[in-house]
Symmetry: D2
Subunit: 203 residues, 4 copies
């Protein structure tokens, strides 16, 4: 098969990309100077060579002498709080908000409701991590920070069930992100659950 | 002008209705049996005759012997809390959530940021109402319940400014609906402000 | 039931209007001066009194001394061409284009593919009309002007089948609207059928 | 800068890709086995090595011993008709329709209305091509096949102006794709221009 069709096929596997746009990508790259394609190929190789996964929080980060990402290395990170998030991009969003200074753990995905749990969802490694932090006595709170949809709710309750035995009696709080009106929400269109929390959390 | 065009013009004034849909409404009514049109005309007349505005909360309600709506009349309504909302439909939404049992006041609209305040925004009547409730000593909390957009934020802060002198030193709290993740919000797409409150209100 | 709920119910039957918007209509009318509601009710009554259906083309038009709409009355209307359209609004669109000066017939709806044909689709009256025009010898062309979707295609072929026996050997053409690129169409996104016609009709 | 950010930057230059999705691509590639990234990098290199531009129609095609694409080489291609299209993907769409067997010329882009013409729009090379075909006497028709938007209309009329002197008196037709209803068009929503052509091209 010719490289245009082959490239289109590969791009069509990208999240949210259909056949037509994949094809457009291929032709776009054809028109670009070869330098752009070389740079793209180079960075693809670099990904494998220069990016490592943090042994503590499982985030992808730029390789250094240590196997810990900058946040896990950082002395100023408040290790008494651990936020469990679904994926790397969630980390970026929370960082950007500048309203959290604790540690993270990237679960890798949501816990599915019906199908069996995929291998890339790291509940096992999470349990290890929590056990370690609990023994060291540093951990005081676990924040479950998942999207407010059925999958997120399910992941939240599942993790509470899984982690309960380990934290019980250890004076470690398990919390979830607060619910209420989010920026842009119109009262008229907000559901009862959201209103209930918006009233409970009024200030 | 013929009734079809005239009707189309009137429907085109309805919120969110363009010329084309307005016209479709007119033709739709032509095809419907005359009984449907008669019923519609009847109910339009009824609106004026059978609907009154509550003297206390300014809500529209079905006329009764009293000039108070069922909520303002109801002995079980907790008069110590007053929720200020923008419009009647917001009342329906809050009721549906079954998470609030206090009193209401329908402001009638948002306080505009630039233009002068329209007459239908009842800040004057609100102030009267608050003064009355304050003297009677029944009022303990005012909840500002507006949509989380620039207009809602502006209305919130304006009302706090306007009501401050009346409630100061009277041990009356002024609160706003709690902010956080609302149902459906994906962490990845939530803004910093929402995340900040979601973390503050975590539980 | 109170007039607000009743009105909301009636508006919810309007094409493309959901419960929420229907309710907004009711509250919108409450806020409007009673004059607006009176005018609306008046025009609703006028619809039945002042609008008639043209005996020839079945269009709704403002009652006059005759039972023919202005187009069917008009001496300048080219009676040798008859355009069959689905509904009254299609008439307005064709008129607006100023590219047709012939006669019309409003079928009243599309011919469904699976369900039995509804009474408001006037194939019977159309056949009568065609027979009359054929005998008078005035008719030279029948234009089938339906939307280019499965229902429109089906209606087109069904009418050709139904009308065939009446027009055969009478030197009356049966045509359908030309196909090709329509304003806004991007070549990249146009389907094979459209391209085929766009090439056939190139000029 | 780390490869994730760098890759995100490169992907963000892709047509229709925003920063957020670009980032998601980078993380997606991180999670994929290195084999996928290697394959992608390989195909990017292949693009430059194995894809050539046809000297006649300017299309990109898989390199062979000749410098002509399969269509320009093909004995069965009807060289008496030349279709001028904007880009390579348009070629694929026309081929798919199986309704054209003539030659092509890829212009490379639309002729802008206000800004100066970009270098990648090959009006010069087109003129050369037409001159050649005219002298050889093989050319009988030029089809201008552009999208039906303001830019496409402008490109159509500009090319007619540019090519006129060359084809005049040579008995070569210049045509544009036919206009009319395209698949999916609803009569009610079609504009006057489209209706005008739909009537003119009725059959």
């Amino acid at each position: 098969m010719d490289p245009i069709s082959k490239l289109s096929e590969l791009f069509a596997e990208f999240p949210g990309i259909g056949e037509r746009q994949a094809k457009r990508f291929a032709y776009y790259l054809l028109r670009k100077p070869s330098g752009f394609r070389k740079e793209l190929a180079l960075q693809l190789a670099e990904l494998g060579d220069r990016i490592a996964q943090c042994v503590d929080c499982k985030r992808f980060f730029e390789k250094t002498t240590t196997d810990l990402c900058e946040t896990c290395r950082n002395m100023n990170t408040d290790k008494s709080v651990l936020m469990i998030i679904e994926k790397d991009t969630d980390y970026d969003v929370v960082r950007k908000s500048r309203s959290y200074n604790g540690a993270y753990f990237v679960l890798g995905g949501m816990i599915p409701i019906l199908e069996k749990q995929p291998s890339y969802v790291r509940t096992g490694e999470l349990l290890e991590r929590i056990k370690k932090d609990t023994e060291s006595g540093v951990l005081k709170e676990i924040i479950l920070a998942f999207s407010l949809n059925t999958q997120g709710d399910h992941t939240d309750s599942e993790l509470r069930r899984i982690l309960e035995p380990t934290v019980v009696g250890k004076d470690i709080r398990m919390t979830s992100l607060g619910r209420g009106l989010s920026t842009g929400t119109e009262l008229e269109y907000s559901d009862s659950k959201t209103l209930e929390y918006a009233l409970k959390n009024r200030q």
